[in-house]
């Protein structure tokens, strides 16, 4: 589904940071990939490269065989197939919840008002906030906002969902409700790439865990292998610090 071939990315502002160094990976259909690592390890940059929110300096990313860094590629059609959920939700504050979930359907998928609203209501029910459809984002709790953000991404019928630390900005008691929605998605067979600090989620739902440090993939494997028998010293150290 997604093939990452030797990508490099260096940031020069505010100071030089090698965010990605020769990262390669292959994400298969239906796979749940969890990316973990200390902060500044390049895991968010890796995720943001997958839908070209960041452009890699070198290397190639093929999404269903399409090179997304090729200037001839229409990135909007590629992005329409990839849902993204952000750490800070990024709901549109000037639109109602329903408006948030329907706007891209109308503009990008060219669905009618009725069709997009039906789809939106179905998804809002699914994530458990159907009754808030006409509220504005500012009136929702963080957990509710993040669930709306997931519904907004799902409304486009994406083939893959990208999660960029979806629970990091939430109060502890709200993390569960968001993780539950993500677990349901994984069980339904959605292809997912999650950058997260939730080790429980990684262990329970992940098909594969990627551990990144200093812009490199240090270790990867199944959750059992990763959490029980890590090989690399840095992995061991990281796990010791967080578990």
């Amino acid at each position: 589904m997604i093939e990452v071939k030797n990508i490099y990315k260096t940031f020069y502002v505010p100071h030089e940071v090698k965010a990605l160094v020769d990262v390669s990976n292959k994400i298969e259909v239906g796979e749940v990939v969890v990316v973990i690592g200390p902060s500044g390890s390049g895991k968010s940059t890796f995720l943001r490269c997958l839908n070209r929110l960041e452009t890699a300096d070198h290397g190639q990313i093929l999404v269903d065989g399409v090179d997304i860094f090729d200037p001839k590629t229409n990135i909007n059609t590629v992005r329409a197939e990839m849902g993204m959920v952000f750490q800070s939700f990024n709901l549109f504050p000037h639109l109602s919840i329903l408006g948030n979930v329907t706007i891209a359907q109308k503009l990008v998928r060219k669905r009618s008002k009725k069709e997009s609203e039906e789809k939106a209501m179905m998804l809002l029910e699914k994530v458990g906030i159907g009754d808030k459809a006409h509220a504005h984002p500012a009136n929702l709790s963080g957990g509710q906002q993040q669930r709306v953000a997931i519904a907004r991404a799902l409304a486009m019928d994406p083939k893959i969902m990208l999660f960029d630390e979806p629970t990091s900005a939430l109060d502890p008691e709200m993390i569960g409700e968001v993780l539950d929605v993500m677990k349901t998605l994984a069980q339904e067979g959605m292809t997912m790439v999650c950058v997260t600090h939730e080790m429980g989620f990684a262990r329970e739902v992940g098909d594969r865990v990627i551990f990144m440090d200093e812009g490199m993939v240090v270790e990867e494997g199944t959750p059992e292998h990763f959490f029980k028998n890590p090989v690399n010293d840095r992995t061991k150290l990281f796990l010791k610090q967080i578990l």
Partner: protein
């Protein structure tokens, strides 16, 4: 009072508060009174009673005899009266209201005699016409200015050099010279050229008003560009990322996500800009557009009521700008309630 609790000490004693209000009123009366007294000292004759005619007046119609002649008949014609005058080339009829003349049958009239004088219809006075012209110019220039400003503002934040640099050039050139000079260039340089080209091709030429409106809207547009840019840049980048990652193109992102949010932050500075526009329109008198300021000057030339008319002129501008400012505050509150 309780609702606005703060730790800043306020006048809590009602008597002290009321005294303070009285103090303010006394201060205003003192200032106005002193000015009035000073004008009396220099023997200025205030004639406010002559002012209403600058808004509405009933025109006076005077009919004069065109030739020598003799009044032949005076007869009723419905509610009016026909005066038939025998002149060299035959009978001539003047239809006038009752009581507007002082002639009898058989009277001789000579060329230039006043035959009748009566009141015609109500007409708008000089100042009212001036206000209307100022309003018309301001409304058109505001609409064009917003249009230019949004296009320029979007171009200003674009990554494409042709758009970005064009916007920067526009803003820097327009903000770097006085409006009066720009109005002169628009009228005397561009206006002359364009009107000549139009005339050479047998087309009707444009009124100075349109060159004035063009100058004002282009001037205001340059400031609006910077306001719109600041508004766009105040939107969190996450909003753009969220919109783009759901497949929206840059155009959709701008017009459906960023600008609607930016509008809320840019509304107050935008209002200030358009209040300036109303006031700046007073410069258009320089290119013979009879807006409020020019109308005032013309009124003074004929009536010599310098003090009244200039004060009136200022008050009329104040009414226009204050109304606009109230309207924008209402819009803001409406926006904030959502």
């Amino acid at each position: 009072m309780e609702l606005k609790a703060s730790n800043i000490k306020r006048l809590s004693n009602p008597t002290a508060y009321n005294l303070s209000v009285l103090g303010f009123i006394a201060f205003v009366i003192l200032v106005v009174g002193s000015v009035y007294y000073a004008t009396i000292t220099v023997e200025y004759q205030w004639r406010w009673f002559k002012i209403p005619k600058y808004f509405m007046y009933q025109e006076t119609i005077r009919l004069y005899a065109e030739e020598d002649g003799e009044i032949d008949t005076i007869k009723e014609n419905g509610k009016k009266i026909d005066i038939l005058i025998q002149q060299e080339d035959g009978l001539k009829t003047y239809t006038v209201p009752k009581g507007s003349f002082n002639w009898d049958e058989g009277d001789m009239t000579s060329h230039g005699d006043l035959i009748a004088e009566y009141s015609g219809s109500w007409r708008m006075g000089l100042m009212a016409l001036g206000v209307l012209t100022t309003l018309k110019i301001s409304v058109i220039a505001t609409i064009l200015g917003i249009f230019l400003g949004i296009i320029g503002g979007v171009a200003r934040v674009s990554d494409t050099p042709v758009l970005k640099w064009s916007a920067i050039t526009y803003v820097e050139i327009i903000r770097g010279s006085p409006l009066l000079v720009q109005i002169m260039i628009f009228y005397f340089v561009l206006g002359t050229t364009i009107n000549k080209i139009l005339a050479m091709n047998g087309l009707p030429t444009l009124d100075p008003e349109w060159y004035g409106i063009a100058a004002l809207s282009i001037f205001t547009g340059a400031y609006v560009v910077e306001i719109v840019r600041a508004g766009i840049e105040s939107i969190h980048p996450g909003q753009i990322e969220a919109a783009r990652s759901s497949g929206m193109n840059p155009f959709q992102t701008m017009f459906h996500i960023i600008l609607p949010q930016a509008l809320k932050t840019i509304l107050p500075p935008l209002a200030g800009q358009f209040i300036n526009l109303i006031k700046d329109s007073s410069l258009l008198g320089m290119i013979s557009i009879r807006e409020l300021t020019k109308a005032t000057r013309e009124g003074i030339t004929t009536s010599l009521q310098t003090f009244e008319l200039w004060i009136l002129c200022a008050i009329l501008y104040l009414i226009m700008t204050f109304t606009l400012s109230m309207f924008v505050q209402w819009l803001e509150r409406k926006g904030a309630r959502r």
